[in-house]
């Protein structure tokens, strides 16, 4: 490890309603790989965005190569030698590899772009990285791993001194990860400072020299990787005080019948061989880190994404027996009694420009119509019933949804599925973007729904939410189910352990 090249001190950043970074310290030395760790929402990406000028910090100082700096956009940071290799790759798919690497700074002869020189320079870059990619291939034809190598090559071509990898391995295969590590070691040997953001504990131990842990927007501490254990890091990541009391035992009777049975579900890379059961009146928590495949599992069950294989059985209301169902589209799923409350409420959950009435009956307009005419009176009646039942705060049922707060919008989505009389409700991040007071109301509502016999799958990235709401917990990692436990035996540590690719 060399001398310190980059120091961030007392970095503070607030967004409306959120204190995203609370006086965070962070430093990078030349020739080190420095891991930045923390749960989802701990503030890692925000910190890196402040560093590269995407966000403006409220206070604190950034010292780079001995001088205090402040970048106003990524271009400035790039020119100074700080580059991010984003998790979501910034690639122009229809251009070639070489055209992507040199986009914005193409060598020209007169007005003609010198493609030949670009291709040669790209080849030289790839040689330096000891990787083999055809510079004339279209970017969209490459694998994700190769695309990432191109991003790295692009970073290096900027004469980077500090390279930030934001969850680089999330989409890579084992072999590609090995290649990536070889490159990272090579860059370290060339005295570059490397920031490595990842959730994968095993990788951290293999590739990094130091680990800085963040939690809830604050700085927790920095450790030398080889002197600490995985448990040390996990403890630092989760060691927060839980304000809400977690559930101590399941509220769901042990003999409750199974209402939904999923067997060996496969849907792309993000859903591999997932099986689980959901009981009547149960809240089943789905825990895991970002990109664990929980939303993808829900979408596959709901028929929103295609599945390759798997069996889904749902309890028949009349006979009380499990029957296999074919769900190829959300239409099938809704018919089978499943309601899905998307994590992206505004995009998939509600039609914001329409009234509460129109949203509430959207999923089952045929029940509120006579022939082709909509029965406005019946619509209004049922909407008012649920406004009262869910305690939705609104001047009236005609109010446009966009004028409601996040929590109340969520209630409209819930009402929609209750009007439809769905028995199985999938809540995907039910309280994202909702303030604390409204959160509690949503929690109460979910408990009430469960006690009335609705069965709930709750996908949540918030540990406290999982521990407070779930009767049972399914943990996923990398598209696979890595654990399942009753609430009575669940702890933050045991969940985090399974969520970080510790397949037992």
């Amino acid at each position: 490890m060399g001398d310190v090249i980059l120091t961030m001190k007392g970095i503070d950043k607030s967004f409306p309603g959120v204190h995203a970074l609370d006086h965070v310290d962070f430093e990078v030395r030349r020739g080190e790989v420095h891991a930045l760790m923390g749960e989802n929402g701990a503030g890692k990406s925000t910190l890196m965005k402040v560093l590269t000028g995407i966000y403006k910090k409220d206070s604190g100082t950034i010292t780079y190569e001995g001088k205090e700096v402040e970048f106003h956009n990524t271009r400035e940071a790039q020119d100074a030698g700080i580059v991010i290799v984003h998790q979501e790759l910034n690639m122009v798919g229809d251009l070639t590899v070489a055209q992507n690497i040199f986009i914005g700074r193409e060598p020209v002869k007169g007005i003609r772009i010198d493609d030949k020189k670009m291709i040669e320079d790209s080849k030289a870059l790839f040689d330096k990285l000891k990787i083999e990619i055809d510079p004339t291939a279209k970017m969209k034809d490459l694998t994700v791993g190769k695309q990432q190598m191109c991003e790295i090559a692009k970073a290096i071509s900027h004469n980077a001194k500090v390279i930030i990898f934001d969850e680089p391995s999330a989409a890579l295969t084992e072999k590609e990860i090995d290649d990536l590590f070889a490159i990272i070691r090579d860059l370290r040997a060339q005295n570059m400072g490397i920031v490595y953001i990842s959730h994968r504990m095993d990788e951290i131990k293999v590739i990094t020299d130091r680990v800085t842990v963040m939690r809830d927007g604050g700085y927790v501490g920095t450790l030398i990787t080889k002197d600490c254990t995985k448990e040390d890091i996990i403890n630092m990541m989760v060691g927060r005080v839980i304000y809400e009391e977690p559930k101590t035992h399941s509220m769901c009777p042990p003999d409750a019948p199974v209402v939904l049975k999923v067997e060996n579900l496969n849907a792309g890379r993000m859903v591999q061989d997932v099986s689980f059961e959901l009981h009547k009146g149960e809240i089943l928590g789905f825990s895991g880190l970002m990109g664990a495949g929980r939303t993808e599992t829900a979408r596959a069950i709901f028929g929103a994404d295609p599945k390759q294989s798997g069996k889904i059985s749902i309890m028949n209301k009349q006979t009380g027996k499990l029957e296999e169902v074919t769900i190829n589209s959300p239409v099938d799923a809704v018919k089978a009694g499943i309601g899905y409350l998307s994590e992206d409420r505004r995009r998939y959950g509600v039609v914001v420009g329409k009234s509460i009435i129109e949203n509430s009956t959207l999923a089952c307009l045929e029940d509120y119509s006579h022939g082709i005419f909509i029965d406005k009176a019946a619509e209004k009646k049922v909407t008012e019933k649920y406004i009262e039942e869910l305690a939705t705060k609104t001047p009236g049922p005609d109010q446009l949804v966009m004028n409601l707060s996040g929590g109340n919008q969520q209630k409209v989505v819930i009402a929609k599925w209750l009007v439809k009389n769905s028995d199985i409700l999938i809540f995907d991040e039910p309280t994202r973007g909702i303030d604390v007071g409204a959160k509690n109301e949503i929690y109460k509502l979910m408990n009430k729904l469960a006690s009335e016999g609705k069965s709930i799958i709750m996908i949540s990235s918030e540990m406290t939410e999982i521990l407070r709401m779930s009767d049972r917990i399914v943990i996923m990692c990398e598209g696979k189910k890595t654990g399942e436990m009753d609430i009575a035996e669940a702890t933050q540590e045991s969940i985090m352990d399974k969520a970080t690719r510790n397949i037992k």
């Binding site: 990524t74 690639m91 229809d94 251009l95 772009i113």
Partner: protein
């Protein structure tokens, strides 16, 4: 990794085959079509369509569209023609005026879309209406005929050798179109402007994050389109005996259709000027050629529509195939 692309995979090749097949059918079944004058008149009426198609290729590659090209073209021809007739504007200056007007409306489209963020459909629908309105204010405009003073501009597109019955007319316009095609194809593939046009169509966000002034280039895309539409209005005046006010709506569809037949990607990110040329020729052969074999104009429309669906389907099927491979 590097596979040689088979010719059949290239929509331009398929479109060219279709064009050839059409010509062969016409030649076999229509005596009239075999005449040199038919050939000349068909070319005459294709130039302005080709120029519009060249222009609109750029917005289409960015994933946008320009609906104002048809009414715009007629509008510029009317305004400039009016100036020639009523104000004694020299024809040379009128041609420049056409180009300037086209460029201006193009820049307006570009600013609305690239800077203000209007949806291309809405922005250019508005300018389509505006240009139609302005055009309607003019009276029907005969530009000078070949024999009148200033009639020389007709021969930009058709050179005449000899006089009287022995006169031989040579369609110079087609050479102009081919030269322009290669120039624009070069611009599209080998200059920054062309490359960023493709990049914006493929992933505007990533292009902006690469430090490229996407707003500027987005405006440029529509400006170039507008300039070419300005040129098309000259071609239109050169072949139309009387430019009628209030017309032009619908002409843009022939050009846009031609570009799609030529293989531009319906979602942006790919297109070629050569393809647009071939595609427009296919549309022109359908439009002006089918009557030669006795098909009513309703049939032309139906067949043209069907051809368009098939070409866009080819694009979709190709994309699905690529996605399945990945």
């Amino acid at each position: 990794m590097t596979k040689k692309k088979s010719l059949l995979n290239d929509q331009r090749f398929i479109a060219a085959l279709v064009a050839i097949v059409l010509v062969v059918i016409y030649l076999i079944f229509s005596k009239e079509f075999r005449k040199y004058t038919s050939f000349l008149s068909m070319l005459d009426f294709s130039y302005y369509d080709i120029l519009m198609a060249y222009g609109v290729t750029f917005p289409l590659i960015t994933g946008g569209v320009d609906l104002s090209i048809g009414t715009g073209m007629v509008c510029y021809a009317l305004v400039a023609g009016q100036m020639v007739r009523n104000n004694g504007l020299p024809v040379g200056a009128a041609i420049v005026l056409c180009l300037v007007l086209g460029l201006a409306i193009g820049i307006l489209n570009g600013v609305l879309i690239g800077v203000m963020g209007l949806a291309p459909f809405i922005a250019t629908l508005s300018t389509c209406m505006i240009t139609r309105g302005i055009g309607s204010m003019c009276s029907a405009t005969p530009w000078p005929t070949t024999s009148q003073a200033g009639g020389w501009f007709h021969s930009i597109f058709k050179w005449t050798f000899g006089t009287g019955r022995q006169a031989f007319k040579f369609p110079f316009g087609i050479i102009l179109m081919l030269v322009l095609m290669f120039v624009l194809e070069f611009v599209l593939n080998h200059t920054k402007f062309g490359r960023y046009t493709i990049a914006i169509g493929s992933n505007r966000e990533a292009t902006a994050l690469s430090g490229i002034n996407v707003k500027f280039y987005h405006v440029m895309v529509y400006a170039v389109c507008g300039l070419l539409v300005g040129f098309s209005s000259v071609a239109y005046a050169a072949v139309t005996p009387t430019v009628q006010p209030g017309t032009g709506a619908g002409l843009e569809m022939d050009a846009i259709g031609g570009v799609f037949v030529g293989g531009v990607s319906a979602t942006g990110g790919y297109g070629s000027i050569i393809g647009s040329f071939i595609g427009t020729m296919v549309i022109m052969l359908l439009k002006t050629g089918l009557p030669y074999i006795g098909l009513q104009s309703n049939w032309q429309q139906i067949i043209t529509g069907a051809v368009l669906i098939i070409s866009v389907m080819i694009d979709i099927v190709k994309k699905k195939g690529a996605a399945a491979k990945a």
